[in-house]
Amino acid sequence: MARFLIERLFGMIVTLFLVSIMVFFIMELPPGDYAERYAFRKYSGTGITMTEADVQAIRAELGLDAPAITRYLDWMGGIVLNGDFGPAYAFDTSVNNIIGDKVWLTLGLLFATLIVTYVISIPVGIYAAVRRGGLADYGLTIFSYLGLALPNFLLALVMLYFANLWFGASIGGLFSPQYAEAPWSAAKFWDLVKHLWLPAAVLAWSAMAYQIQTVRATMSDELGKLSVMAARARGVPEARLLLKYPARLAINPVVSTIGFDVNRIFSELPIVAVVLGLTELGDLLLKSYLDLDMNVAGAILLLLTVVIVVMNFVSDLLLAWLDPRIRLGG
């Protein structure tokens, strides 16, 4: 296990390094830089003509004139050593200030979505496989097709409509107005939970539909295994047998695709966030990218990819923990 852990840990560190280079490359990609944008903003319409030398001066002031390698090392050094993502030019403050809260909210939303997905799809998929061919199974199959076919934002609109109808108007956003600016407290946290379930359910929708099918298929496979019949032939009570033998293996494909789920949730998040009026990172990412405020864009991009890489690592560990054949290299 120790060996496995070290291997995966090393793999993750290498991946993270490559990811950081890629993100930096993406930050460099758009034509022009913030110095030009800044010059244009500040002096357009004032009649003053900016010379290339003036822009160069701004560039030097912002530290944008250094060679790429220096800027990469500066940037990474700040992040790794001090957790400092650098200045956010367009906002005249630090990146950490701009994205701080949003990171936690996005992560909260991510985990809420994952929990909703797995808590529902695993037992439901197992149940459908055990009652294969029954009414519940057919119902679930139809639900799954619906889940895969219906776009998230449409579902978000529909759910928003009904949530408003049943729970009152304050369901959009992540906080009620009175808590939005308030310091953290138990009441604020509870308010967040009340607001979180709707976006989490919307985001979980298609993953749920997909994972129910996966669990159902694997569970059906596992139910037909000789080891299950062998356990039955030893007189293991049925309910316990189902949980201990086939169900235990039926969750493996779910665990191994946690990374994919995270990736997909991040991709769907921005549009769902727009519909539900959430302020999360995706929206800010787009804005800062358009503004050429590359430290903000880079920080968000880096954080999202790091979350995906780390979740992949977690999924590997979970899988190894669940399956000794992987852990012991069989």
Binding site: L226, A230, A231, R234, P237, P324
Partner: protein, 332 residues
Amino acid sequence: MLTVENLTISFRTDEGRITPVQDVGFSVAEGRTLGIVGESGSGKSVSTKALMRLLPGNAEIGREARMRYTSKSGEDIAIEALKPGSRALRRLRGGEIGMIFQEPMASFSPVYTIGNQIMETVRLHRGLNGTAARDLAVEMLTKVGISNPGARVDQYPHELSGGMRQRAMIALALSAGPRLLIADEPTTALDVTIQAQVLDLMRDLQRDLGMGMIFITHDLGVIAHVADDVAVMYLGTIVETGTAREVLKSPAHPYTRGLIKAIPRLDRLDARLEAVPGDIPSPSARPTGCPFHTRCAEAIAGLCERVTPPEVRLAQGRRVRCHLHDETRAVA
């Protein structure tokens, strides 16, 4: 200790109803081994799964079937009448009748240790917990000849070799303390040298523990080695039964004779193995009359393909289903 009569098993399939086991009867006496031999698809596994009520949902056991088993406490159990999920059925499975399958690897769950699976059985059937259960697991592993059992008990199935795994499977089945052991081709998946070791082990354990045993195989050579009695199955019916000695010495049924010719023998190594000639008909297209008539060299034209041969009793408790032995048959 076990008597089976009129056992008929059919399956509902997409291509309609098939009946791979028809009117089968056999019995196992205390402390004896019954070998069931027959080609692939003859219904050996299905018949023994019925004894444990392990058939899948699309299977149906005929209404006239009677499966009587005498339990350790001397109680008579009608297996066909046990309720699914009942305590009595769970006690029967494992605790009274143990089962070993062809694939030792697939019979273990890959994600639990050998010991975990043995101790589960010990807890269920012997009421032992904790160290007592573990001690018994180690003891069982020792009994089946696994070296270093104290360490093996904590290993996963994939860490053992094929032969070791089958030994561990035998330990697992025996740990529940069954009175009857069903072994469904337990050595087919193993190397030849290991096959012989496992066979010897099973025979010795059966004798030491005084268990009844049903040993399924498609190899009459194996029957000669382990079985006291033998039932030869063809297309879902038992065509010949008797003591293994007698049947092997003077086979009465043409099919049994064909199987004996197919036993590899040291003094005939140069001669090619003669498998029973002809193709096995599929269970959905069962021949009329004697099921073997499509492959039988001695078939009586006009009779065998039309009339199902009755069961004829021969000397020494032997029985055979073949017109050749039917004294009462009208001359065709």
